[in-house]
């Protein structure tokens, strides 16, 4: 005898995180589950909030760079590039050509490193642990190069207003030229390892679809937006530094599912190798710093600027307000992960619970940047 009472179902709430390896940091979400389907998702962020914007108001202009390294701690050179460009535009100085080339080379290598990190972690999210080790082996090669350049493996503090901290180390160009085929080979190997894998395909194709209109409405950017088929890249749409002179493609996906987000990043790594190759061929000799005043005298004229760069995770923007003092008046960070994460709710709706981790992984969030 089936009564109405016996058939009544109750939604279940499942708490994921904040300390859960699949959340890539300290991210917490409460999933509302109807059977095996996700009916709703409430994200909670802020566990890694360090008050970067308030700290920046209390530091001198150039010192803020060390905090920027710690926002998106996987793509530090790109963050520094964004802030250095903002300061330079406010100051009205141009970095010398060698510095520009060095910056673009390092930023693009940093993109490869960051996407390698994604590749490894995404493989682990899907259930394949081997790619993680391969990705880290490839990553290590470039990390050692970064260590030789800046003296630190992660928190570089290398780009300054008007150029670089110091010149590239001796033999950098030769070393990198020797290394690039290996990097390319590493990317190909990673591609072979995962892209055709049947288990991987069945876990990612058609999972977590995000329509282009939705991606735009939620302010998504970077690979998440491009996977949905929108050919939009800050390096093309609002070109900065040397990018107008460089030849590279902007890969886009079709379906906006997890596989496309993965594929776009893999294709971007190849484009980055191309960009680095072009820059290396043209890397000029010369000064690396346009002189700007030293620390007690470093002041920026009153004004405000919104400057953004294409980070591995998307459109990284900084709104800088200066009142002419030695410290910035206001630094607002527009973090790409923060905005991409807003689209998590629509992406998770009606997906399987087991796919939630894959969908979150495909966004490639860095909590240091989400929480700031």
């Amino acid at each position: 005898m089936t009564t109405e009472r016996a058939l009544r179902t109750v939604d279940m709430h499942i708490n994921v995180g904040p300390q859960h390896p699949a959340t890539h940091g300290v991210f917490r979400m409460v999933l509302e589950v109807d059977g095996e389907r996700v009916a709703g998702c409430t994200p909670y962020i802020g566990y890694l909030h360090r008050g970067f914007e308030k700290l920046a108001e209390n530091e001198e202009w150039q010192e803020v760079i060390i905090h920027l390294d710690r926002t998106d701690y996987i793509s530090q050179f790109n963050n520094e590039l964004c802030y250095a460009m903002g300061m330079e535009r406010l100051l009205g100085v141009e970095p010398p050509e060698r510095a520009e080339y060095a910056r673009v080379i390092l930023a693009e290598l940093n993109r490869i490193v960051s996407h390698m990190m994604f590749y490894g972690a995404f493989g682990a999210d899907v259930g394949a642990l081997t790619p993680f080790l391969y990705a880290f082996r490839e990553r290590e090669r470039l990390q050692r190069l970064f260590e030789a350049v800046s003296g630190a493996r992660l928190m570089h503090f290398y780009f300054r207003a008007g150029g670089l901290k110091e010149d590239l180390p001796e033999g950098f160009a030769d070393e990198l030229r020797r290394m690039l085929p290996a990097v390319q080979h590493g990317i190909d190997e990673c591609d072979r390892l995962l892209t055709q894998n049947e288990v991987f395909l069945s876990r990612t194709v058609g999972v977590g679809k995000l329509a282009a209109s939705e991606a735009i409405a939620y302010g998504c950017s970077g690979p998440v937006l491009r996977a949905s088929g929108v050919r939009e890249d800050v390096r093309r749409s609002d070109p900065y530094s040397l990018y107008p002179t460089l030849d590279f493609d902007v890969p886009v996906g079709k379906n906006g599912d997890c596989f496309d987000r993965y594929w776009v990043r893999l294709a971007e790594m190849r484009e980055s190798v191309r960009i680095v190759q072009q820059c290396l061929d043209r890397l000029p000799e010369g000064p690396i710093r346009t002189p700007v005043p030293r620390y007690p005298h470093f002041r920026v004229e009153p004004g405000e600027i919104y400057v953004h760069t294409e980070n591995p995770r998307g459109d990284y923007g900084l709104y800088l307000v200066s009142k002419g003092g030695v410290q910035p008046y206001r630094v607002k960070l527009r973090s790409p992960c923060f905005c991409n994460l807003m689209a998590l709710g629509p992406m998770l709706r009606d997906s399987y619970l087991a796919d939630a981790v894959v969908i979150l992984g495909s966004l490639d969030i860095v909590l240091g940047e989400v929480d700031r």
């Binding site: 060390i66 928190m155 300054r160 901290k165 620390y295």
Partner: protein, 158 residues
């Protein structure tokens, strides 16, 4: 079936590659010359005293506030042995709080502080504090290790 065989071929090939990892505490990868560990204080062998005058500029610019500096009158100035009127009296760095950002090196006016290759400070206490003798020793070890002379490229940049 074919996929499994392919996987095994890859495993077989990779099995004979040289390993890229080392067993950490026994074996260490070499550090790059520019590596930034913790800061150390340099010793002016010519006058047999530190370069540091205790002017506290590094302390004021340190983003984590891990430094404490005091200055005193230089006794050697009175006897004419040195040109430094003031000299460092006390210098402590809480290495547990230091983030190795090299700001202290770049703001120093006297080129007295440098980033050494020391980076391992795991210990049993929350505050690993290094005082003057340790800081001089760190710099001396670093100089001996990398064969550098005092005076380096990265000074006074900020």
């Amino acid at each position: 079936m074919l996929g499994v065989l392919k996987g095994l071929v890859t495993t077989w090939k990779t099995h004979w590659r040289a390993p890229v990892t080392v067993q950490y505490p026994d074996e260490r990868l070499p550090l790059q010359p520019r590596y930034m560990g913790f800061p150390g204080l340099m010793w002016d062998a010519e006058h047999d005293e530190p370069f540091c005058t205790g002017c506290q500029v590094c302390m004021r610019y340190c983003p984590t506030g891990c430094m404490f500096v005091e200055m005193k009158d230089n006794p050697k100035f009175a006897t004419g042995e040195s040109k430094r009127r003031k000299i460092v009296a006390d210098f402590t760095i809480n290495l547990s709080r230091c983030i190795s950002c090299s700001i202290c090196v770049e703001v120093c006016n006297f080129e007295a502080i440098e980033m050494t290759h020391h980076h391992e400070r795991a210990g049993y206490y929350p505050d690993q504090v290094a005082g003057l003798p340790t800081l001089f020793q760190m710099s001396a070890d670093h100089r001996a290790g990398v064969g550098q002379k005092p005076g380096h490229e990265t000074r006074n940049l900020l």
